[in-house]
């Protein structure tokens, strides 16, 4: 018999429908406004919470659901207004070492979280938050690398006792070494060539000088840039993760930019403070006793003052990997891997300095708020940046170090901290913030509400129209349409953690339009076949069948467009493309398979004289039929 789906197909559809429903539920639980307190130098505990409680009670702010962990304290509040008051109160109560940020906390019930159902991430435009565009200083990255190469070249030549007539960094990709004759140059070349596998060597003569050029080939430079961007992105990501923001975005954009979006965070100053506290690492030797006072600086370490020689023997960007591990005796240690050149560099320095101490300095750019009085005696707050150098490791060089070496004599906690610090310090190149924007929470909420209402009213109007125009078939189409919206929500909340933005909502609107279109195509086709004199069952089958190619072609081409937009676009364009792609897939399922299942249930498997699909032209009575 025509128009019956096998039981497995109906079951499958039912399962998809149930899953779609289940996984879109979390979206009806609104987030709580929250304050998040974190610190990167101390661990948090109940006594901090006690201080916060007192501060909030004094400010008469109601709060609930506080969560205290070593890294974070989260306090839930009733409203956005409370959030701002509470933030000021907590900031006043705690010292500058604490970071107090506005945040949002989910209220999804535990059983839903347990099955992996979550809320859809809302974009900055719908939720509010801060957006930064950071630019990586590639020139500095390449330049620093070349300077590093130069000092390496010098020390190799010194060791080999090869005299030069001068060395010079011409530009970020080009180093020039001048010699008195071709023989020294050729010796120098063979001494250097193995140490710089990445560089190209060339010789030329200028006047009576014999020049050796070392150049970074374009593809290597490009690779360096790519690695630098990637490394910086990872560092920023770790940093942002430690901020504890729900669903942050750290994205590469173009060749040298990184986009950081922190939804829910309402305080850009705080976020900048955090992002700019980006560290670099330097390896030094301890100053020799009796060294001239200008050649070293003193740092506190373990309660003592250590004199650290000013010369940098290795930069942090030579570190390729850091791990805290256990040695063969089960004692904690920090294992550091260097790149090839870094390995050569540290080997040369340490083999002449066995028995001396090696120091690792972590240099951070920090900011502090300074309060001054203006002419009228008002307090003015200003943010000032300063460099904070910290000695994080002070250890004896026991042997000439190879590319991979370990720092021992630490307890487990120290080893962990040290490897974390070194990792955070391996930011490959300096970065600047080129653009920042803030979207307030109220504006975000208004956008969301308005957008949501728009979609709601639109959907209701479409539902009413479809019902009126296609009757029973309209009911099937409407069920499919509602299902489609649920499925889009479910996919976006749980399957692909996509972020919903305003353009994304519009993408959904367009999908709703297209989903209806698929049904319109099918239904008009069915009516047409009825007008041509087909029996209802045949007409249904033919309608679905013939409209299918059209729908497939139309949807596939649109899908291709969305895919291109997704690959090429960023930000809003991407957000639109994602929802459109998801919507096309779900709507193909609901509009074709879903409505068909319903129509089959209603009309399938029995003899039907008339179907309720609205008005259509009756077939001409006088037809010539073969008997």
């Amino acid at each position: 018999m025509l128009n019956q789906y096998p039981a497995w197909k109906n079951t499958l559809i039912l399962i998809v429908v149930l899953l779609g429903f289940l996984y879109s539920i979390p979206n009806i639980y609104p987030d709580d406004e929250a304050i998040q307190v974190s610190t990167d130098s101390l661990t948090l505990n109940e006594s901090d919470m006690a201080l916060i409680t007192t501060a909030l009670e004094a400010a008469q702010v109601e709060f609930f659901g506080e969560e205290v962990s070593e890294e974070n304290i989260l306090i839930r509040l009733n409203s956005v207004d409370d959030q701002l008051v509470a933030k000021t109160a907590i900031e006043d109560a705690l010292s500058d070492d604490y970071i107090v940020a506005l945040n949002l906390a989910p209220t999804t019930p535990g059983w839903l979280q347990a099955i992996g159902a979550g809320k859809m991430n809302l974009g900055l435009d719908l939720q509010g938050g801060v957006h930064f565009l950071m630019e990586v200083d590639m020139d500095a990255a390449l330049g620093r690398r070349m300077e590093d190469n130069l000092s390496n070249v010098r020390s190799i030549l010194r060791e080999e006792r090869l005299r030069t007539r001068g060395t010079e960094v011409i530009d970020n990709n080009h180093l020039e070494i001048r010699f008195a004759n071709a023989e020294i140059r050729s010796d120098a070349r063979s001494a250097l060539i193995d140490n710089f596998p990445d560089l190209q060597f060339q010789t030329r003569e200028v006047g009576d000088l014999f020049v050796l050029d070392m150049r970074t080939p374009a593809e290597v430079a490009l690779q360096v840039e790519r690695d630098t961007l990637q490394a910086n992105r990872t560092t920023i990501m770790n940093r942002v993760d430690s901020l504890g923001v729900a669903e942050p975005t750290v994205q590469q954009q173009g060749a040298d930019r990184i986009v950081v979006e922190l939804p829910g965070i309402q305080d850009p100053a705080q976020a900048i403070r955090f992002l700019q506290r980006i560290a670099t690492l330097e390896f030094h030797l301890e100053a020799e006793p009796g060294a001239s006072a200008v050649s070293y600086e003193s740092y506190e370490y373990d309660g003592r003052l250590i004199d650290v020689d000013n010369e940098v023997i290795l930069q942090g960007d030579r570190i390729s990997n850091v791990r805290s591990t256990l040695d063969q005796n089960g004692l904690p240690q920090v294992q550091i891997n260097l790149d090839a050149q870094g390995g050569n560099q540290i080997n040369r320095v340490t083999r002449d300095n066995v028995g001396r101490m090696m120091d690792i300095l972590l240099s951070e750019t920090k900011s502090r708020t300074i309060t001054t009085l203006d002419e009228e005696g008002n307090e003015i707050e200003d943010v000032e940046f300063y460099e904070d150098k910290r000695l994080i490791s002070h250890a004896t060089i026991i042997t000439a170090l190879p590319r991979t070496f370990v720092i021992t004599g630490l307890n487990a906690r120290e080893a962990n901290d040290l490897s974390e610090l070194i990792r955070s310090g391996s930011l490959a190149a300096p970065m600047t913030i080129v653009e920042q924007s803030v979207i307030g929470p109220t504006m975000g909420r208004e956008n969301l509400e308005a957008g949501f209402n728009g979609v709601l009213v639109a959907s209701v109007l479409v539902l009413v129209f479809m019902l009126f125009y296609y009757r029973v078939f309209g009911v099937a189409a409407n069920a499919a349409l509602i299902m489609n919206i649920l499925l889009i929500f479910a996919v976006m909340s749980s399957v692909i953690p996509a972020t919903l933005t305003l353009p994304g909502i519009v993408g959904i609107v367009l999908t709703v339009g297209m989903a209806v279109d698929a049904n319109v195509l099918i239904f008009t086709r069915i009516r047409e076949e009825l007008s041509n004199g087909m029996s209802p069952q045949q007409a249904i089958d033919a309608g679905y069948d013939r409209a299918f190619t059209t729908i497939l072609d139309a949807n596939l081409t649109t899908f291709l467009v969305a895919l291109v937009l997704f690959t090429i676009g960023t930000g809003p364009v991407k957000g639109f493309a994602v929802t459109l792609m998801i919507g096309i897939m779900t709507s193909m399922f609901t509009a074709i398979v879903g409505t068909r299942a319903l129509v089959n249930l209603i009309y399938g498997g029995r003899s039907v004289q008339k179907i309720s699909i609205g008005k259509y032209r009756m077939p001409d009575k006088s037809v010539i039929k073969a008997t």
């Binding site: 080129v434 709703v512 007008s531 649109t558």
Partner: protein, 316 residues
């Protein structure tokens, strides 16, 4: 509304061509001479930070700014309930020597203006020039994206249909996007990231429409034994007419509700799409089919390769 319609769409194809060409030319001229009114996403601006001694009410600030000729200003709360940020577009036509100085001037003007109309003390915390480099990059990406998308569509349609249909579809898309942009330019509607997304949506919609019509043309060319190409296109357009009208109607229903209820931020979007849908509907009838006819489409163009014929011709 199942129409036994027999409208001679292609009878006025010459007039339609003339109208389309005129509209495209007018749009290009408008874009060339009048440009688009770019929103803050695409232009540079001045960001002014202000501190209040009491809680700020954003609506009041907005009101004060609008009343004093700063309709384009965007006001957001900034970190606390006593700090706001006002972003003002910079007039690109005025040559500015020192952007920092100019930003400082704007900052002072705004601070003075707002403190005059407010009961609390307003202090100027800082003002900066914000560049729009990001916007430009994004616009380039959007443009590039459209070009690549058009290329891929051409290939797909050439494979599924025939090359003449590719040209038809792409001409129709270009037609829709250019005229929509032209209308934006002529009526000075703001072009921002949301409207950019709308342009992309128009591509999707217009394509959808065009494919549906093309699909029917393909089917009829394969099935109907008699009739000139013009007749067959006419039949196809008549057969898809009720679907075209219903879909455009429901889409417009959706868009008008977004326009009236969806809030300020989506209005530009809705307007762009409404224009796009109207033009897209027209172009799927008159542009794509017309181009196909001008390219002398024949039955042979659409004949199914012999080996597949047996499967596809079966009647249920």
């Amino acid at each position: 509304m199942q129409l036994p319609s027999n409208i001679d769409f292609m009878g006025v194809r010459k007039i339609a061509s003339a109208i389309s060409i005129t509209l495209v030319i007018v749009s290009i001229l408008a874009l060339f001479f009048n440009s688009l009114q770019f929103g803050l996403d695409f232009t540079s601006g001045t960001s002014v930070r202000l501190g209040y001694s009491d809680t700020v009410v954003l609506d009041e600030v907005n009101f004060a700014l609008t009343n004093n000729g700063y309709e384009d200003a965007v006001v957001v709360s900034f970190g606390s309930d006593r700090e706001i940020r006002v972003i003002l577009p910079v007039d690109e036509s005025v040559e500015v020597v020192n952007q920092a100085e100019q930003a400082a001037e704007v900052g002072e003007t705004i601070a003075a203006l707002l403190s005059a109309g407010s009961s609390s003390d307003v202090t100027l915390l800082g003002s900066d020039y914000v560049s729009a480099k990001v916007g430009e990059e994004l616009a380039e990406q959007g443009g590039l994206g459209m070009l690549v998308a058009l290329g891929i569509i051409m290939v797909y349609i050439a494979v599924r249909f025939q090359f003449k249909f590719s040209v038809g579809a792409v001409v129709a898309l270009a037609h829709d996007v250019i005229i929509t942009l032209g209308i934006f330019s002529i009526f000075g509607i703001e072009f921002n990231l949301n409207t950019l997304a709308a342009m992309l949506a128009i591509i999707g919609y217009s394509l959808n429409d065009t494919i549906v019509v093309s699909d029917r043309i393909r089917e009829n060319f394969r099935r109907m034994r008699k009739g000139s190409p013009i007749e067959m296109v006419n039949t196809s357009l008549n057969q898809t007419l009720s679907r075209t009208i219903i879909t455009s109607f429901t889409t417009l229903l959706v868009l008008f509700s977004v326009l009236f209820i969806g809030g300020e931020t989506t209005q530009g979007f809705a307007v762009a799409l409404i224009i796009g849908v109207v033009i897209g509907t027209y172009s799927s009838v008159y542009v794509a089919s017309n181009v196909i006819l001008y390219m002398n489409v024949t039955r042979e163009d659409l004949m199914i390769p012999v080996k597949e014929g047996a499967d596809l011709d079966g009647m249920p």
